[in-house]
Symmetry: C2
Subunit: 137 residues, 2 copies
DNA sequence: CCCTACATTGGACAAGGTCTAAGTCAAGGC
DNA sequence: GCCTTGACTTAGACCTTGTCCAATGTAGGG
């Protein structure tokens, strides 16, 4: 966490209370909050933080490569703090819970040249779908 | 296309002019329209069709398994008529164009038991990202 | 400790999508 | 062929998510 803040400082980030709180709220594994959830949790620690600042900060962290946007459905975008460790997602179709997973193999090389249509392919996202243990009752 | 309408009729779908037009608009390969685009094209053939009906019809086709929702970014959901033929997607990060692709291998079996967290895994989506030839200039 | 460029704020705005109440019509029964 | 009825459609209000802006506040270098 303090690593993150240090890295950002080195890149010229001005360290404000708001930005620190947003970074704190996002720390951890299997964390995939929406912007509004981030705002709600940030408000607990810093009541006067505004929605606009949360959106701004999330956007900055995404462009700095510290945060990943995950859009699993037509609802709110979720933010994934594990941008520095590559991984994929396992999603519960009932409750929407997301887990980080690490499949074997290399999905990128599974796309043959003939299926690339002239695109320069730079990455691949895998989203596994299923029902989580809590919803399986 | 008439196959689709026939299948739906057998499942108790009442066949209206609006539903027929929506189905017609979605026919074809590499078609990934947003709801508003569907509405715009449907309006050309049936000027009085409403937005609500387009949304209703798209939603019904999705639950019937005839249509796939694709949410690649934080923008409008796109609808993919190739739900009956399994495939994945290749997406241009600049202009958002989507192509249907068929990678080799079985991504489902690439997720080991230890990474399933007790979920019943039923499917997997692959989204390749890159730059399309038109944007590569 | 001051200055200033950068950050934050609240509220207006926009896009995508859902809901409702009232009117319309497909299709089965006669 | 016509009636009936419950499913379908409609317009528009409304909700949620996200963006933008002008005014205000403040981190951090000098």
């Amino acid at each position: 966490m303090s690593d993150l803040l240090k890295r950002l400082r080195e890149r010229g980030w001005r360290l404000t209370a708001q930005r620190r709180v947003v970074a704190e709220v996002l720390a951890g594994d299997h964390i995939h909050l929406t912007a509004d959830e981030v705002h709600a949790r940030a408000t607990e620690r810093l009541p006067e933080i505004s929605r606009a600042t949360v959106y701004n900060t999330l956007g900055e962290l995404v462009s700095l490569g510290e945060l990943l946007e995950v859009s699993t459905d037509h609802r709110a975008t979720r933010y994934d703090p594990n941008a520095r460790r590559p991984h994929h997602h396992l999603l519960c179709d009932r409750c929407g819970t997301i887990r980080d997973v690490h499949p074997t193999g290399d999905a990128l090389s599974a796309l043959p040249e003939s299926e690339r249509f002239g695109y320069t392919v730079s990455g691949v996202e895998l989203t596994y779908r299923g029902i989580c243990p809590d919803c399986a009752v």
